[in-house]
Subunit: 438 residues, 2 copies
């Protein structure tokens, strides 16, 4: 008998490995940061003992959800401006607010609120594109949450963060050197978009990504405006523009990918580019419907992203799963598209793979890190149960997430954070709210 | 000073009347089943006293949400079959299950679970189309919830409920006579759809609706299949078919209305037909995108509906608000379409109006019934707050609903039902689950 730190037992264990079959009355053995074994509780309890048996009736265990695209600190702009045309929203509301408040303190405080919201909703890893990622990284380390933190790059200075374009790269390399090798914080470089980054900055970002072997993250083909602007400036679509600079590779995860031709879908698949699909943001900003069914068919790995809370307006991946699974049925006219298993794969294993973390997280597999959630199924809106995948995709709510473990540590217990002071974080948000409103 | 049963105080009071301006630190005075007065807390407390002051920090009060189209009892088939083509889903899964289990006992038990889920999510009224509505009515009376219960009519017998077509009408008239004049249960007649009801049954349903002055509720133009079938059988679109029989009137609320021509939109507006928009069901069954922006522009009153939980898969109107407000922006390519105020109007006042209950419910107005909800804003996902309408539409979750009042009685307190035994209802659902699975 081997002693382990935790044995986690549940009626339904979804490992998201193999043929995706559900282990009934399953169990996971965890020691340190790692998953040691999985199986039926009967089998696991013959091989392992633990002082910490997490068990209860009517529970499901599945991998921690992965948010593959957000701007976490923008949570402080949640609902600041809605129902507006994109450029009005961006130029008259979001950019001025960012310009006014951007600072290390702002990012550090805001990221805590975002992490609190995400963890309580079962999100254990997020990919970010923003500034002052060092402040975010310190918070993640303190909280114990996992993140791929992309240091933003754009073609013009940003008061308080980058006095010149050179500063973006200085900041990015410092960020990479700071966090490379960290267990929880994965540094990344994030050139913003084809309409804000010229060839020099894209190529230089890619060189840094290659040099340090870190992921590169960008917005791609989000709106028709972007496609038109790219064609006007470079005579190329956004995908062609990146292809021409050698940006399309397995290291790249591209957010949105709404406006793609069939040939571009094939090209992204061939180049093994990962896609972060942000359905709720694409809907709310009227960006369009990404060709998700076609991309999946072409073999592109697609994760789910919330985008920033200013355009969503929350950071729940459960919500993205449900919305994506439904919307793409109507878009394609085919109710068999994006079934509930695929939705959960996108939210877990596929998400991990597009971030280059497929060997570490995304499924409940011996040798991977113990990032997982326990959901409480004892809820009127989750009864009856015929198919647990269907319930997680179409019915489950953040309030059903009971326990969240990241890297073998419990960060949420009975719905309450264990490493964060919830009241203090909410009070701080109210202080910022009054400043931002004024 | 006038003594009242309740004074309800909140930071944000949304009456959904007048110019929709928010009353900060507002209050509602309630006596018996009725709203007596609304205003600032300062004003209300000068005129009224009460032993029951419902008050607290960071709360919002708004009208109870109205679900304008569901088949409540189908909650027992939630997740029984998903991600399937419509006819496969209906003919090979849903209809056989209904045929096997349909009974007064099934409907009564299932409706309780549906009401529990809806009430906890702030839904205070629902419109239903199903069989054995007497069983549903008895449960509503016991619980204290409001419902417009439509006795279904179709062209063929239904084992256990209607041995012949005649029985649908006998049952419907008995149902109407049973409940006419009830404070909570409004009887209604509900011919199913253009592909299941011939002219005789539609006309006879309409005569009964006229004779008793009760609403009539039907599915209309839900799928392209339905439009094609109607044209094949009658040489008319579904809207033309109903128009030809004189069905289009203010008494009619029509669920779905996905496939309409511009002329049909104008006709529905002229005839004052109400529309129950069921966005999540339309997406999940790949039915299509209803022309909601156009219908609103034409002046059609549109409420929101969940449809049955077998095609959604929950009964949350907050979810419908968020999905509808987002999807129609992308469908129309215009992010200003269906703003957050409109979404809440659809979920409250517009919903009441299409059910013929505009004088009784749908807004917080002196003289109307006291159907309202108190939401707790003290949540990470609801911070910061700049615009309460935005938060209710885009961020609020059923778990944020703290108190629910229907007809002046508190039915949910601190998220827990006061007139229902939650554990018993969930146990009963599990017993039915095992039967239905077998």
């Amino acid at each position: 008998m081997q002693n382990v730190d935790y044995i986690i037992r549940a009626d339904f264990l979804l490992t998201m490995e193999g043929d995706l079959s559900v282990i009934k009355d399953g169990a996971v053995a965890v020691t340190g940061s790692d998953i040691i074994d999985t199986g039926t509780f009967s089998d696991i309890s013959k091989q392992y003992t633990s002082e910490n048996l997490l068990s209860g009736k009517n529970k499901a265990v599945f991998p921690g959800l992965i948010n593959t695209h957000t701007h976490a600190a923008m949570v402080y702009f949640r609902g600041l401006a809605d129902d507006l045309p994109l450029m009005d929203w961006l130029q008259n509301h979001i950019w001025p607010a960012e310009g006014k408040w951007m600072s290390e303190e702002f990012v550090g405080d805001a990221v805590e609120l975002a992490c609190l919201e995400m963890l309580k909703a079962g999100v254990t890893t997020y990919t970010d594109m923003y500034f002052f990622q060092n402040a975010a990284g310190k918070k993640l380390e303190k909280i114990g949450m996992r993140g791929v933190l992309g240091a933003g790059v754009i073609d013009f200075p940003f008061t308080g963060y980058a006095a010149s374009v050179e500063d973006y790269f200085t900041n990015a390399e410092r960020h990479i050197n700071n966090w490379k090798g960290s267990e929880l914080v994965y540094p990344c470089i994030a050139p913003h978009a084809t309409y804000t980054c010229g060839p020099d900055n894209y190529k230089r970002s890619n060189d840094i990504s290659e040099k340090y072997n870190v992921p590169i993250h960008t917005h791609l083909a989000e709106t028709q405006f972007e496609v038109g602007e790219c064609q006007r400036r470079y005579g190329k679509t956004p995908v062609e523009y990146l292809e021409g600079m050698g940006l399309l590779s397995e290291r790249l995860s591209a957010a949105h990918c709404v406006w793609l031709t069939d040939n571009e879908i094939e090209l992204l698949a061939r180049r093994k580019v990962g896609v972060a699909h942000c359905i709720e943001s694409n809907l709310k900003l009227a960006s369009g419907f990404a060709p998700v069914a076609k991309m999946l068919k072409a073999g592109i790995k697609i994760g789910l992203g919330t985008d920033g809370a200013a355009s969503n307006n929350d950071l729940s991946i459960l919500g993205e799963m449900s919305t994506a699974a439904k919307v793409h049925k109507a878009v394609s006219g085919d109710p068999t598209v994006l079934d509930s298993k695929t939705a959960l794969l996108m939210a877990t294993r596929y998400g991990a793979e597009i971030l280059g973390l497929g060997d570490k997280i995304g499924s409940i597999k011996p040798g991977k890190r113990a990032d997982l959630v326990i959901a409480d199924l004892d809820q009127p809106h989750l009864l009856p149960i015929y198919d647990i995948y269907s319930h997680i995709t179409y019915c489950m709510r953040p309030s059903d997430i009971e326990t969240v473990m990241v890297n073998g540590k419990i960060l949420v217990e009975n719905g309450k954070p264990t490493t964060m002071d919830e009241a203090e974080i909410m009070d701080k948000a109210r202080v910022w709210q009054e400043k931002i409103k004024s």
